[in-house]
């Protein structure tokens, strides 16, 4: 039964991992930018959440209502300024610039907000849970986060396939010059895609640092970016369902690793995730659901 519990906990965590990773996947898919600051932006969102909570005194779990729009707007401007400027200088430049951005974010956070760990208070609801049998205990908030994550992915999928802007995002991702000729300003569309990416990573950041982990300025690159990459690689690029599958696989594998390691080897949690990540790279380089591109 303990394994069943691990798998359930892994699935609950996996939805959140997928939410973390979908922005990374979207930015790569649309503007071919590998955003190495992706994890740090989740940490920034967590600090913004602390600020929002201090200023407005809203309950911690509700801080996302303000944090997500703030980060989305920030994402739009980040794309239109720094990332756009680096895009025009070539792909390798975007890699260097986002790497630099990651270092700058960490350093600024360390300088002004110290290396102390923080948590986003989630109140009594954060620990409320219900049990199935004697061994399986499911946190209400964990369950809600999974439902929210899947809902966000569903809405995003629907948005990309049906809406006017979603169609534009697909067109620009396919051929930005041809999209220009059809009258679409690709820079604005890139901005929208970046806004979505930062909005989702902010939501994931608030949830993760509310529920699962403390945060400090370095956890973004040290942990989250790695998780997001693992999810994208395991799931396969270019599909939100792949991202969800990748998130759940990573979540379950980590829980099983943690169970095997026990208290003596807590690092087995991360090791297990990385082993599966490597195995997928070797056996299924296009990921679980990735499309093998020939052209």
């Amino acid at each position: 039964m303990i394994w069943v519990n691990d798998i359930i906990q892994g699935i609950l965590l996996g939805g959140l991992y997928a939410l973390f990773a979908c922005g990374l996947s979207l930015m790569f898919g649309v503007m071919k930018v590998i955003n190495l600051a992706h994890g740090d932006l989740a940490v920034v969102a967590a600090y913004v959440a602390l600020g929002v909570i201090a200023l407005t005194h809203i309950p911690g779990v509700w801080s996302f209502v303000l944090v997500v729009p703030i980060m989305a707007v920030g994402g739009y401007f980040l794309q239109r300024t720094l990332i756009q400027a680096s895009l025009e200088r070539g792909t390798i430049t975007t890699l260097l610039v986002t790497f630099g951005l990651s270092i700058v974010i960490e350093t600024v956070l360390l300088q002004f907000l110290s290396a102390n760990s923080h948590g986003i208070p989630d109140g009594s609801f954060g620990t409320a849970s219900f049990s199935i049998g004697s061994q399986i205990s499911i946190g209400w908030l964990d369950l809600i986060i999974l439902v929210v994550a899947v809902t966000v992915l569903l809405v995003l999928q629907f948005y990309l396939s049906r809406s006017r802007n979603g169609r534009l995002i697909r067109a620009v991702a396919d051929d930005r010059e041809a999209a220009q000729l059809a009258g679409a300003d690709y820079r604005h569309i890139f901005g929208i895609a970046a806004a979505i990416a930062l909005g989702t990573v902010a939501l994931a950041g608030v949830a993760y640092f509310g529920m699962y982990s403390q945060f400090d300025p370095t956890i973004g690159t040290g942990q989250l970016l790695l998780y997001a990459f693992e999810v994208v690689v395991i799931g396969g690029l270019g599909s939100l369902w792949g991202t969800l599958a990748g998130g759940i696989v990573l979540g379950v594998v980590q829980q099983i690793g943690a169970q095997i390691g026990g208290a003596a080897h807590p690092d087995y949690q991360f090791l297990a995730g990385q082993l599966v990540f490597l195995a997928v790279l070797v056996v299924l380089p296009q990921g679980l659901t990735g499309i093998r591109r020939t052209a």
Partner: protein, 256 residues
């Protein structure tokens, strides 16, 4: 009266290669102008300069007297410059209808029902009505060329830049596309038309421009332009020599 499109001493260099050497040109509404020239003459670059993909080193592009030189391709598209690519570039993962709908909404600036109606009308006109829900990536060459034109038309252009409509198509296929082009011109849209297949062009344009080495070396009625020694010289040794000679011969007979 101000011309629809004016080029005012446009120069564009890539390093030491000059693709446009002080080009000036005026095109009025409803004009249809063919552009020929050997490979590397700067024809597609000229479209890049007019459409906004390329920024000139000097000179000005004006649309209805308004300078558009500093506007990018999407802004120029919204002002009424539509363009097709020599090699069609559809959005392969989207359906044919979505391809055209997007152009109608962005370039044509139309919303909701109007944009759907325009997209449907353009598909009908370009003979793609039955392929509306097919992913664009599955289309064959002729249909891709049609889609390329449909997408340009959906943006409601006042100036249409056609880059090699006929390349790779059979004569009846070319004839179909030419019919569409002339019907567009009849509505008052100006058309600039690059073509290697001279038969398609000479039959449908009253004015032909020959471009070589970044300069215009001929401008006038097709038969006259093709009969000019400078034009014949740049075409010597290419596959079109024989058809050129034939056309020039006809021109000579007409003159005689």
């Amino acid at each position: 009266m101000t011309a629809l499109l004016e080029l005012d001493r446009i120069t564009k260099r890539f390093g030491s290669v000059v693709v446009a050497d002080g080009l000036s040109l005026a095109v009025g509404a409803g004009d249809i102008v063919g552009i020929v020239g050997p490979n590397g003459a700067g024809k597609t670059s000229l479209f890049g300069l007019i459409g906004g993909d390329l920024a000139p080193n000097s000179g000005e592009v004006r649309l209805e007297g308004r300078p558009v030189t500093r506007l990018d391709a999407s802004a120029r598209c919204r002002l009424g410059i539509g363009r097709t690519y020599q090699v069609p570039r559809p959005f392969v993962d989207m359906t044919v209808f979505e391809n055209v709908l997007m152009a109608a909404q962005q370039g044509g600036g139309q919303r909701r029902r109007l944009s759907y109606a325009r997209a449907a009308a353009v598909l009908e006109r370009t003979g793609l009505g039955n392929d509306a829900n097919v992913p664009a990536g599955r289309l064959g060459l002729l249909s891709r060329k049609r889609l390329e034109m449909a997408r340009a038309l959906a943006t409601a252009p006042r100036l249409l830049l056609l880059d090699e409509v006929a390349g790779g198509l059979t004569d009846p296929e070319v004839a179909e596309l030419v019919t569409i082009v002339t019907s567009v011109r009849d509505e008052g849209v100006a058309v600039l038309w690059i073509e290697h297949v001279l038969r398609a062009l000479t039959a449908s344009v009253p004015r032909l421009i020959c471009l070589a080495g970044g300069s215009f070396i001929g401008d006038g009625a097709p038969a006259e332009v093709l009969a000019e020694p400078a034009v014949r010289e740049v075409f010597l040794g290419t596959e079109v020599t024989t058809s050129l000679a034939g056309l020039a011969g006809e021109a000579a007979r007409e003159d005689a």
